[in-house]
């Protein structure tokens, strides 16, 4: 199962494309940072005070919000994921999970409801910053990665909070934290390309192709490699190490 953060950022005659930034699977793996549990989208109503269950629900609902074929169901899942993550955040504000999953689900809601795009950015940024303050290593440096891509792809002020240079720095830090995790290189390559550093961007995408997939991310790795090859092809370098 793949989970991606889809963020739509809109501006007057300037709307940013949907991004796909992987978020962790809802179950095993994640180096112990994520509490395991059933992968079903449990009703939020019954999870009101159980932090672990709320986090699991927020993760699972994010998965539905990304993958379901029906936009209504995606929207509903994202909204319920937001509720679950928000509640988790209230219960344990010093834990990273609630903040992180809140941001992810808000991103998915923005993907389904495009008019929500820039408002979503305003919600996601502080949540991701807080998540990063608590534990920037969570989900293979997920707070750094997702915030990095958010800053990279959002329009710049006054429309939104976009800051490609700061996004690049965050993605560089994500790579430093987890140098063997391919996904971080995928977005680092994008940031480098935006900064006009084409050769370094190609090297980052080559790294996506060269690194072995983490055991808990086998399916996602197939997508990352596909994206990396696309980036390389469009940059004229070709994805040689297929």
């Amino acid at each position: 199962m793949r989970l991606a953060l889809c963020l739509l950022v809109l501006a007057l005659c300037g709307c940013k494309s949907i991004s796909t930034v992987r978020a962790p699977e809802a179950s095993a793996g994640n180096r112990g940072y994520i509490v395991g549990g059933p992968r079903v989208a449990a009703p939020v109503a019954v999870l009101t005070n159980d932090f672990d269950a709320l986090v699991t629900a927020a993760q699972s609902l994010a998965s539905v919000a990304e993958n379901d074929s029906q936009s209504d169901r995606r929207r509903d899942a994202a909204k319920r994921g937001i509720v679950a993550a928000r509640r988790a955040r209230e219960l344990k504000p010093d834990r990273v999970e609630g903040h992180y999953w809140y941001a992810i689900n808000v991103g998915f809601l923005a993907d389904v409801d495009r008019s929500y795009g820039l408002d979503a950015v305003a919600e996601m940024e502080p949540a991701l910053k807080r998540a990063g303050e608590i534990d920037e290593r969570y989900d293979y440096a997920g707070p750094l990665r997702v915030l990095g891509v958010l800053l990279l792809r959002a329009p710049q002020p006054p429309v939104s909070i976009g800051s490609p240079r700061k996004g690049l720095r965050l993605l560089q830090r994500a790579v430093e934290r987890f140098p063997d995790y391919p996904e971080n290189y995928l977005y680092l390559g994008e940031a480098l390309r935006e900064a006009g550093r084409a050769d370094e961007a190609k090297a980052a995408w080559q790294k996506v192709l060269a690194l072995p997939a983490p055991a808990d991310r086998q399916f996602e790795a197939v997508q990352w490699r596909k994206q990396a090859r696309n980036f390389l092809d469009s940059s004229g370098a070709g994805g040689s190490s297929r």
């Binding site: 710049q156 976009g162 240079r165």
Partner: protein, 264 residues
């Protein structure tokens, strides 16, 4: 019996804005024009989002849009050639006044445009050079060299960090500068050397030769009424517009005079 719908092209031009492409903004702008078309009745719009004035001119000559939303620089440059009439002005969200500022390093000697002389000016508006020189800078800087950029923040970082290809000054919207000067990293290292006068906002224009049977009164009413309904406000919000308002003719006329300036 099904009503006959007239399909009309609709130009959206935001010069130099990297997100202003059909691929990135087409869907959102399409939702906006669909909302407007519904209010006008009997028409459908086929919007085209562009960030290059040259391509916009090509679009106008081939697709013959009756209406568009364009930058004031484009309007002033091609008003006669494309037979444009300004219908309404755009008031953007979070932008109290349309102005530009020229930002330089804080340690730069001199103030005002003295601090800019001899420097390369990075700008997203390079394709509207006459607007920059005549209207924004009021013809006060001779032999200005411009560096076209799509990433203002990147140009500022290059300036601050002394990058090899860095411009010596950056032209940016005042609203962008207001955010940047609060930035803990960049703000203390920069200053706004020059602040333009109040400028016109983006304009809703009619291309008179192409208007045909499109009812411009209905169009204006549709646009100015958007803020009166929840759905309309949502639509405006999606394109970050606060409202469509009557054109501030005096301000536009002043800009036009500055634009023509030495060309007259």
């Amino acid at each position: 019996m099904q009503a006959i719908m007239v399909l009309l092209a609709f130009l959206f031009l935001k010069t130099g804005e990297k997100f202003a492409t059909q691929e990135m903004a087409g869907q959102t702008v399409g939702e906006f024009t669909a909302c407007v078309a519904k209010a006008v009745g009997g028409v459908e719009f086929e919007p085209r989002v562009l960030n290059d004035p040259v391509k916009a001119v090509e679009f106008c000559t081939t697709k013959k849009p009756p209406v568009g939303i364009v930058t004031p620089g484009f309007y002033l440059a091609y008003q006669k050639a494309l037979d444009m009439e300004p219908l309404l002005e755009v008031r953007r969200q979070k932008v109290a006044t349309e102005r530009y500022v020229v930002v330089v390093k804080k340690i730069t000697a001199g103030d005002g445009l003295d601090a800019v002389r001899g420097k390369v000016l990075a700008t997203t508006l390079a394709a509207e050079e006459r607007y920059i020189v005549g209207v924004i800078l009021q013809d006060k800087v001779a032999e200005l060299r411009m560096k076209p950029v799509t990433d203002i923040e990147g140009a500022v970082f290059d300036l601050v960090e002394g990058a090899k290809e860095a411009a010596g000054a950056v032209l940016m919207e005042e609203a962008a500068w207001q955010a940047m000067e609060k930035d803990e990293e960049l703000g203390p290292k920069l200053k706004a050397a020059y602040r333009s006068e109040e400028l016109p906002g983006a304009l809703v224009v009619a291309f008179r030769a192409n208007v045909g049977k499109l009812d411009l009164c209905k169009l204006k009413t549709a646009l100015t009424s958007l803020g009166k309904s929840e759905e309309g406000r949502k639509t405006l919000g999606s394109i970050r517009v606060e409202a469509f308002e009557a054109v501030k003719q005096e301000r536009l006329k002043k800009a036009q005079e500055s634009f023509l300036g030495k060309l007259q």
